[in-house]
Symmetry: C2
Subunit: 254 residues, 2 copies
């Protein structure tokens, strides 16, 4: 079977973060599949078909892309950020494992991209400079108790924490609960970074102390980074403060 599916990461923002590899694969594909706003970021090429789907239909979208590839086509499934981080690569693997038997015979590849936490971190300094974790607050995919257990474990062990999918119409209270939970473990002054639409024209970045971090500042396009007790804020005259986590656990540098 000659068909191929490639899951392609666009990065979090504009074309300045799209890798040459991703651009080449997107240009060469016979067909593109993806959520509308992501497909809108890919230049139109004559002779290439486009298949737009809703954001909630990840499994169905991956299956449709695999079925198309099984006809012998070279299909690209686009993903925001990095496809491997709370995105389309796992959805495609789920379909390869459990879907039609022919899906296992297809060529399958993933093209990495810059994931949102790296872009947000870059905007403020280096908050992910020491051990860190990434947690999705989307509790339609796991029980809320498990989210809390992971927040406890991560904060208790000194990880910086990146929160993906912090809030949505279907998930209005989770971020507030997460902040409450983290306040049990972390100092009141722990820096919290809100990075919204980073890399896009409407980008906003804000830093707040955990005790005053306001969940209503976040929306679906926001990625949040909660510091560890080691995370520091550098005030600078006439410039925005920097947020970073020293490489050394005792903050002594090297």
């Amino acid at each position: 079977m000659n068909g191929a599916l490639t899951v392609v990461g666009l990065g979090p923002g504009g074309p300045h973060w799209l890798t040459p590899e991703a651009a080449t694969i997107l240009h060469g594909a016979d067909a593109l599949y993806g959520y509308g706003p992501y497909l809108d970021r890919v230049p139109v090429r004559a002779g290439q078909s486009r298949h737009v789907s809703d954001n909630r239909e990840e499994g169905a979208r991956a299956a449709a892309a695999l079925r198309h590839a099984a006809t012998g086509a070279n299909v690209a499934l686009v993903s925001g950020g990095d496809p491997g981080v709370f995105a389309m690569a796992a959805a495609a693997c789920e379909q390869i494992e459990r879907g039609e038997a022919q899906f296992k015979q297809l060529e399958f590849a993933v093209v990495p991209g810059i994931t949102a936490m790296l872009a947000v971190a870059a905007r403020v300094g280096a908050p992910l400079g020491h051990d860190f974790c990434a947690i999705s607050l989307s509790d339609n995919l796991k029980p809320w108790e498990l989210v809390e257990r992971r927040l406890d474990a991560a904060a208790g062990a000194g990880f910086v924490i990146a929160l993906y999918n912090p809030i949505s119409r279907a998930r209005p209270w989770q971020l507030g609960k997460a902040f409450e939970r983290l306040r049990r473990h972390l100092p009141a002054a722990t820096p919290v970074v809100f990075g919204r639409a980073v890399g896009r024209a409407d980008e906003t970045v804000a830093v707040a102390a955990l005790e005053r971090a306001d969940p209503s500042q976040a929306d679906m396009a926001t990625l949040i980074i909660v510091g560890s007790p080691a995370t520091r804020v550098i005030e600078r005259p006439g410039r925005a403060p920097l947020v970073y986590t020293p490489r050394s656990a005792d903050g002594a540098g090297a």
Copy 2:
């Protein structure tokens, strides 16, 4: 003061993972600072100075780049992977906080890149498809007991674990100890991915069960991903197996 320092991520491998933003900044800089093998990946441009340093001198390298920027120059400090993940962005922030007072007046920016765990994950499927963490095994920057506490916390709470800086001449036993520690928490069959020099001509990727994971397979260029109990291996006829972690905690998909 007009000087500027930009810390630029090259991504983990060849030019296909260098973002357009990084390429633009590197081309426009008056001076480049960095570890030799990273600088070797940046095309030479006439009129641009190059300042090579040893890999162990991160603090001194960052300070030298900042002092150069303070003369009014536009300086780029190159970093492998993403500068914010166990790399040069935190080293630069440390110098801005504690070094010469003038460093706080400089323009400072970070250009994100693809970090090694994303590239390694892409090669095998989607092992980082659910909650995950990144831990550096470099214990010259933290006590080994803290590394073990974080391994315990992460494995116990079901995070997939990416291990950076797994081994070196100065750090020969840490990876073996880490595997031993993780075997206390995780099933014997848990997939472990060894990704070496991913994106380069000498790339190798291997997958082993945790019970048989051999630390001697890793070197300084290796990034390791240890699955969670939910991580799965998909066998495919005539193709390399895929490794992925389902998006849903119960593995049911969505």
